[in-house]
Every structure is written in structure tokens, then in C-alpha cells.
Symmetry: C2
Subunit: 290 residues, 2 copies
Amino acid sequence: MLDPVSRVRRFNRAVTSAVGALDTSFLGRGRPLGAARVLNAIGHGRSDVGEIRDYLGLDSGLMSRLLRGLENEGLIETAAHGDDARRRVVRLTRTGRREFSTYEAISNRQAEGFLAGHAQREALLAAMDMIASALGRDSIGLSEMDPRSKEARYCLGAYYDELARRFKQGFDVTLSRDPDARDMVRPRGAFIVAMSDGLPIGCVGLKGSGGDLAEIKRLWVAPDARGLRLGRRLMEAAESAARELGVKVLRLDTNSALPEAGQLYRRSGWTEIPRFNDDPYPDLFFEKRL
Amino acid sequence: MLDPVSRVRRFNRAVTSAVGALDTSFLGRGRPLGAARVLNAIGHGRSDVGEIRDYLGLDSGLMSRLLRGLENEGLIETAAHGDDARRRVVRLTRTGRREFSTYEAISNRQAEGFLAGHAQREALLAAMDMIASALGRDSIGLSEMDPRSKEARYCLGAYYDELARRFKQGFDVTLSRDPDARDMVRPRGAFIVAMSDGLPIGCVGLKGSGGDLAEIKRLWVAPDARGLRLGRRLMEAAESAARELGVKVLRLDTNSALPEAGQLYRRSGWTEIPRFNDDPYPDLFFEKRL
DNA sequence: AATGATATCTGACTAAAGTCAGATATATGC
DNA sequence: GCATATATCTGACTTTAGTCAGATATCATT
């Protein structure tokens, strides 16, 4: 009915008016929007004045005045940065934390109110995740984490669930060769998680042995974040970590029930090789020389 | 990983910065945002000053000044309304139309740019439709339309496609008793389409015979708009149209492969009755006395 | 024709946001 | 140690948005 561009524009209109409503709800605390935004940025853990300025896109003069205002209200304290006394760091006072938490309560209530009226809650949330990831594509960051961290475990859980759904015979992680976490931490290996604004949306493991040979494991991208070329980015990050660790040959196993994975490997310089382990799940094996 | 409220808030953050970027791209024409918004409202066919003021939520003084500014730029012309000379109507001049079309081009380019980089185009658009409908839930309007109109045909096509997917034996509209369009237009019947900001997202037909008996046909709600109680609203609108036309008894047929439909009927006062036609597809029959 | 309601406009104002040119203190490279 | 760059701050300014109290013209009702 509507062409794609009109659909995007319809979305923009809907969202613009919703954002406007969200903004006005912040005005209820008797503080202009600019000051409220700065306070919230600080509350969410940003402490570097310059960083906040960049994040909010403010002029340095304006930023300075807003900080002075919040300081006079007794909500924040500033101090020189330890490494560089030209820079300033900001933190909330006790009063500031209280005020911040009422802003948080406003935001939470707003979000709950939105969800409350909708029957298709999970579908709606999935759609929101997808759009947030797509809009924030440029800000998806890859970070090395411990495979036992909360974020990594979330990704691995989602990965196992997906294998269970997609393999005809199901998937039981205890039957597979579950790598030792220490093999996926420096100096032997690495584990990389893709984060988009606080949400883990992909991961990959590099399982090393200390020698020339290492294995890629647990490559996963959240369904809502597919199509953003994140798989490729994760693989590149894993390969570059492997190079740093002196690895010469990378291997991986996969299953033909995951065709998009096989395609990614073939397109990025991997070559199929004969089976190199007796894990019951994989039926495709690849190698890449670095 | 994230709780529902955090997911909604993550979406809000992503969207807020995207909307900001969209706004700043409108400033490239050397005109403040307020004036640009008014110009665009006029370009999109709004002509009544009061209507534009309500739509944009502007004070009458501010509105007046913005109009004066656009007039001085030679972009618009105002005149008294034909029926009521207190009201004013606005329209674009030739220059104004040109300027408006460059704003349109900016919006279109922005939307195309967003879509261009994404592999999962259709899924992303579906997610956007869903969210736009959910956000604009309060502004979903039901309007009676000709069942041969573009909007109605779009809904019917989507409805047939869905039946084909959901019926084990498929669905071929030519085998079913396709109602004559004239039976779904006043004075015999009615056809109602739910529109959300230009997009048809649901429909229902009331097929009358001129007598006391009429039939409900073609109840459909777009998958992305389910959970908004739109089915119920459509049924209520159809029933009230039936009452207006003097109908005493309503009937409908449906299929047990569409359980959500059966549930809706049972919950809103319909009672199951024996088969009353020989259409090959339905296996459930309902009646409601008005 | 008089009365009150309505739509828009004008003038006078305030608040918020944003800009810009220095001033000040500190860091970095030579 | 000196020149240069950087981070923040201050003061003086402009623009945009928004508010409010009338003024003006028109409409609807009696």
C-alpha cells in the first residue's frame, strides 16, 4: 500500500510526536530541558564534562552555564580530572542522586505506561529492539569480555536456544565440546561481545591453545540485529585478536542448518576442510590461514 | 538480559537522537524549525489556520507571526475562508511549492538513506509499521469506504493472503462466496477501513440484503496492529452501521484455524449456530441479534 | 440592531537555547 | 623554559519559542 519511503516517514512522524510528549514530561520538575538532560547524563554515569558536551551536542559556553546552574541547585559537584587538570569531572551529590532518581521514575513510568496498554508485548519489544539496533548501528561497539560475564552468558544462552530450535535433533550443550572459559581469555584466547546501548546483541569466541592454532567458537548475532553486517565485524575482530596472539591458523566447525553462517565464512576467505573433531553437532569444517 | 522497561527506554534513546538529527537536517534551509513545520503542514494539504495550529500545538500569536514570516518570504498566500470570514485559509504560492518540495526531498533522502544500509529491509519496515501503529493507537480512525477503493482492496488482498497461509488447504477466493461490492455499500451494507496515519491496517464488511438480516464479512487486522483491540472496534463499528440500516439479525461464518477470531465473537455477544451456507471454507457459524 | 462568542492579529513581554570572542589554567612538544 | 594547543569558564550578545492581554473583524442569536 505505502511505499517503503512513506512507511519510514510514517514511523518518523509517529515517533516525533511521541518524543515530544516524553520531553514535556521532563519539564514537570521545574528545570529547563537542557539542565535536565545534563543531570540525566551525569546520573547515567557520564562524568567527563567534554564527553557530556559531545554526547548532548552542546556549546562549551552553554554547557558551562548549565553545570553552574546544577551546582547552584546543589545537585552536582565538579572537580579537576586526576590525569589532566584542565578537564573537569562531575558527579551527583546526595540531593542530585535523589533528583536523578525521580527523573528515572518518570522515564520508567512512561515506559511501563506504553507497554501496559499493548497485548502483543513481546512482539512490540522485539520490534523496538530491532529499530534501536538499526538506528544505533554506528554506535554498536565490540568489546572484549570474560566469557563468564553477565553479557557473555546472555549471548551464549540465546545462542544455545537458537541452535536447539534450528537443529532437527535439538541441541544439548553438555554433549558438545564446551570450551573451557580460560581458553577464551587472554593470553590464550578472547571473547568479544557486541553491545548496542547496553544490550548485548552478538558475540564470538576465540579459543586458543597457546600455540599457532586457534578455533572460532560461538559466533552469534541477535535475530533483531541481523542485516547490519555485525557477523562480519565480529569475525574481523576475532581474527585481529588472533593475529595479536600470534595465531597462524584458525579453524571452526558449523552446521549446514545454519546456511547464513556458512555463507559468511566462504565469503570472507575461509576454506572448507575435512572434519577435525568428533563433536556430534557440526557437519561443516573450515580453516583460514592468517 | 534487559527488562522490558529498559528495552523501551533504549528504544526511546535511539529514537530521540534520530529525531534530533532529522530536525537539524531541516534547518539547512535557513528557516527556523517552527516556520518549516508550518510550511510542511500546508504543503501536506492542511489549509485551515486553526487546524494547523491545533496540529502543531501552537499559540495563536506565534502561529500568526510564523504565517506572516512565510508570507513575507513569498511562500504562502492567505485568504478568508468562504463559509466563515473570521477563519483564514492558507495555500502555497509557486515559490512555496518549490520550497516545500525541497523539504520533501530532504525527508525522502533521509528515509532512503536509513533503508539503504539495511539488509533486513522488510523486517525493519514491518517493525516500524508496528511501532507507528502502537504509538498512534489513539489516532487510528475508522472510515467507511467503498470496498473497491484502493485502501479496501489492499486490506482484502492482505486478508486473502493470510487465509491462504493459515488454512491447511490454502484459500482461493474464487471458490468462496465473494460478496458483491454493492451489497457492502450504503444503503444495503457498509465497508469500514481502519486507517493509521495514511496506512490501512484493518477492515470489516457488512453485507446487507435490504432486509432484516445482514452478514459480517472480511474482518481483518494487520499483523502489526494486533493487540490494539482494533478487531473489537471494527466489529462495534460494523454493528452500529447495521443498526443504522435497520438490520435485526447479524450472521457470520469463520474457520477454527482462526482461533482469535472465534474468541472475539464469543466474547462480544455472538452465539454459535448451525451451518447456514455451503461455502467450502468456514466451519464455524455465529449469530447476533441486535 | 444589539449582544456575546469566535478566529485571527498585534504589541509587549519572558525564558530558553545557542553563539562568539576572549580569559584562565593546564598540558605537550621542542 | 617557551611556544602552542587544549579544556573550561565568563560576559555580551542574538535567535527562537512561547505567553498574555487586548484589538479587530466576523458570526450566531435574539
